[in-house]
């Protein structure tokens, strides 16, 4: 093992009882962030990670997901090893917008328990964790700084946004410092099976039960616990901790696992550009920016979202061959005879597209959208009938989209297409259908699992309070994007880290109070 002070759960004697001030479950972006904050404050932390230092199929089998909703591959979207999913994330970072945290009357279940201003200092601190430089996402200034020319959008209907990129792999980045920390016990291959209250009536969590693939089991006792296992496993663990509360922990309002949200990744339109294409290309790839990289996107500004009563919508551009695109749609979205007609009108081009597939010469810019999903209680994680090799119920995922999602996407496309025409920079084709039935075939997720343990100050409407503490418990916290009541279009990890730092502050206050 490269980190010589980390322990291996497989070698811990059966029945051992370990202790710490705080036990953090899961060593991904959220868990490592909280752990570091608590270590710096001098607390003794026990960090339990289900995986080791590399991918292990035996460990992966402990968290296979039964997928029953939209065609989706959640297992490919997570990594169960030290550093978590940041071992293969993209590193794209952008904060939520203030409107994303508001209760919007056209989006049921929207509204965070605090405003953007509350998050701002934590975003700044998260920027340091992620090595992103100053917390500044002004696209016009950013473009000016690197001499990039952006579209002259009016900013009212359509605006340019900017994201920053730095692929910090949390395990690699912070592993050495964690290994050196004398107040940390980091245990790999430590799969937490349940969270145990002191007794059935108690609101105090006393310990977590840990198992390893070697078959041994032990417990960790602590003053406080943080569950940071990712957006699906957080719900699974709370639901599976049902020995004392039959519905599971935090599930008093039947909210654990509900409201599963993804950022809808939907390539549903393309722009046929008018040359020159230099401006387009700033929206189609990352460019060096300060010490990191930046990318520009096309988005619907908050006031337009309000006017149209739609969710948050952002598109980056992906340069692709149009004929391949047309053939993709014919294959995936039902065959329209006139599509075939258009394809056959140019057999040479179609032949090239079929032969070269996406490598045919690009001639259009496809909108690669990251879209806020409308919170939907029927979109959910439950416990499956199937069991993992240790006999524990697997997670069952039923990811669902709604008609409102479809309509929001369609309206956003119309607005962007009109603006492209108005600016005379090309024409846009919307390739999704405005049919009466819900049709989002081809919609995928962005590997962002959110919403399953949503925050709400009212216990009747959420799983945790505004600090991430599970309602009706005194010392159990959740960290990660499962806390998000809504998602905006922002890639989640910057917000995960910001929230984790905020929860760490709340935890420290609680620990200080004793």
């Amino acid at each position: 093992m490269a980190f010589d002070r980390f322990r291996d759960a497989r070698t811990i004697t059966d029945g051992t009882r370990l202790t710490a001030d705080v036990c953090v479950v899961g060593a991904g972006a959220a868990g490592i962030t909280i752990t570091r904050a608590l270590l710096r404050a001098g607390y003794r932390v026990c960090l339990l990670e289900a995986g080791g230092l590399s991918v292990d199929p035996a460990v992966d089998a402990l968290a296979a997901v039964e997928n029953v909703g939209i065609d989706y591959r959640p297992n490919d979207a997570r990594m169960r090893l030290f550093g978590g999913t940041t071992n293969h994330w993209g590193g794209h970072c952008v904060p939520l917008n203030p409107i994303d945290l508001e209760a919007r009357d056209w989006i049921d279940h929207s509204g965070w328990p605090f405003s953007f201003d509350e998050l701002r200092p934590y975003y700044q601190a998260a920027h340091e964790v992620l090595g992103l430089g100053p917390f500044d996402y002004n696209a016009a200034e950013g473009a000016a700084r690197i001499g990039a020319r952006l579209f002259d959008f009016d900013g009212v209907n359509v605006a340019t946004t900017m994201s920053l990129h730095n692929r910090v792999r949390f395990g690699l980045e912070f592993g050495d410092a964690l290994n050196a920390a004398r107040n940390l016990q980091c245990i790999l291959y430590a799969d937490v099976s349940s969270i145990d209250l002191a007794n059935a009536e108690s609101e105090v969590v006393r310990s977590v039960s840990v198992r390893s693939i070697a078959g041994n089991a032990f417990t960790v006792q602590a003053r406080a616990f943080v569950i940071a296992c990712g957006g699906i496993e957080n719900a699974r663990l709370l639901l599976a901790s049902n020995q004392q509360r039959p519905a599971g922990l935090g599930n008093h309002a039947d909210a654990v696992g509900r409201f599963f949200m993804e950022h809808i990744w939907y390539e549903s339109g393309y722009i046929a550009p008018t040359p020159p294409l230099a401006t387009y290309r700033h929206y189609a790839r990352e460019v060096p920016y300060n010490d990191v990289r930046a990318r520009f996107q096309i988005a619907i500004p908050p006031e337009k979202q309000r006017e149209l009563r739609i969710s948050a919508f952002r598109a980056e551009l992906v340069e692709k061959p149009s004929a391949y695109w047309e053939t993709w749609h014919v294959r995936h979205q039902g065959i329209d005879p006139s599509d075939i007609g258009v394809l056959l009108a140019n057999p040479l081009k179609m032949g090239a597209a079929l032969r070269c597939r996406e490598h045919a010469a690009p001639d259009v810019f496809v909108l690669g959208n990251l879209i806020e999903q409308i919170p939907n209680p029927e979109s959910r994680v439950t416990l499956s009938e199937s069991r993992d090799p240790l006999g524990r119920p697997l997670a069952r995922l039923n990811w669902r989209l709604s008609r409102q999602d479809h309509d929001c996407i369609f309206h956003a496309h119309e607005v962007i297409a009109s603006e492209i025409g108005r600016r005379s920079v090309g024409r846009m084709r919307v390739t999704m259908h405005d049919r009466s039935e819900l049709d989002l075939s081809g919609a995928a997720g962005a590997s962002h699992h959110m919403g399953t343990t949503r925050m709400h100050i009212d216990p009747a409407r959420g799983v945790t309070d505004a600090q991430g503490r599970v309602h009706f418990t005194r010392n159990l916290y959740v960290a990660g994007s499962s806390l998000f009541p809504t998602s905006g279009y922002a890639n989640p990890t910057l917000t995960i880290v910001a929230l984790a730092l905020r929860t760490a502050d709340a935890l420290k206050r609680q620990l200080r109070r004793g």
């Binding site: 046929a272 006139s338 009108a345 259009v364």
Partner: protein
């Protein structure tokens, strides 16, 4: 000489305005490499398809009649006049976009007058 071909290729190039023509043709079914000789270009299926969809879904009966009559009377005068007519329709595109006069045809979001120009081509191709 194939009269229909001349009308379509000439009208597509001259009539739709640089932005829309270049864009749609590039993304449509024809290679984005117009030759000097308009006769050598294939009929532009994408533009005809837009025209057909406009007539089928976005144009009212009265407008359809007006466009048919216009196509016929212009055809009587030969291709140059048709080119000029569709060019003037498409020149109105920026104004249409500014006023929000846009239509969705075959997925393309176009200025109404651009779609009308395509419709004119479609009608002319059917009449010729």
């Amino acid at each position: 000489m194939d009269r229909r071909k001349l009308i379509l290729s000439g009208a597509a190039g001259a009539g739709l305005g640089v932005a829309a023509y270049g864009a749609i043709v590039a993304a449509g079914a024809v290679p984005a490499c117009p030759t000097e000789d308009p006769l050598a270009q294939p009929a532009d299926a994408a533009l005809l398809r837009i025209g057909a969809r406009y007539l089928a879904t976005a144009a009212g009966a009265a407008e359809k009649q007006r466009l048919s009559a216009l196509a016929e009377s212009l055809l009587a005068h030969g291709p140059v006049t048709l080119n000029a007519a569709s060019a003037s329709l498409s020149a109105a595109a920026p104004e249409d976009f500014a006023k929000g006069e846009v239509v969705l045809c075959d997925g393309w979001v176009l200025a109404r007058n651009e779609a009308r120009a395509c419709a004119l081509l479609t009608l002319a191709s059917q009449t010729a």
